[in-house]
């Protein structure tokens, strides 16, 4: 039980570090949002549930913490991505496609 929990915490911590590394290395806001959302949500879930596995009496509260992380982190990152698009942050030069102008609520944002 102890070893399995420690392995889960190790996987989570590794993903948290990779997400932060992507925050530094990736070229523009949208790529950084991807690294900062998916990697860190997954890593935080694994770390918190690993703590719940190591101490079985704590499992339900750890599950509650991970549930709230799973609810609130995508909300804030989605709001940030929408705000970046609407306030006119340019895409990276190597970007291939931008489909957002097909949607009516983004139709009057300037061409990036």
């Amino acid at each position: 039980m102890h070893i399995a929990g420690m392995i889960a915490i190790g996987i989570g911590v590794l993903f948290l570090f990779l997400g932060s590394f992507g925050i530094v290395r990736l070229p523009d806001v949208y790529n950084r949002l991807q690294a900062g959302t998916k990697c860190t949500t997954f890593g935080c879930l694994f770390a918190v549930l690993g703590v719940g596995i190591v101490e079985p009496a704590w499992f339900w509260k750890a599950l509650l913490v991970s549930l709230f992380v799973l609810l609130t982190n995508p909300i804030s990152n989605h709001a940030l991505g929408r705000a970046a698009k609407k306030s006119g942050v340019p895409l990276w030069d190597g970007s291939v496609v931008d489909k957002s102008r097909d949607f009516p609520s983004y139709a009057n944002t300037e061409k990036l």
């Binding site: 911590v13 948290l16 932060s20 913490v65 909300i75 705000a83 609407k86 306030s87």
Partner: protein, 83 residues
Amino acid sequence: MIVSIFLLVIGAAIVLCLIRLIKGPTATDRAVALDTVTTVTTALLVILALVFKRYIYLDVALVYAVLMFIGSVAIARFLEKGI
């Protein structure tokens, strides 16, 4: 012993986010770095509760996980001119 390695790796992750918070060209970059460091901090608090062996310390992480998105959402609503 292995928990100390985890703590040091998480500290390195916070330092990387601080680098992006200093360098970031636009305000949105800095907001993304702040949001990432919030999530990393939640995991750090839960692991520290395991280190100190106190059940009650998980409540702090719970409050973090519930309340932290308010700041990011306020910044985002300000950036799209609509608060």
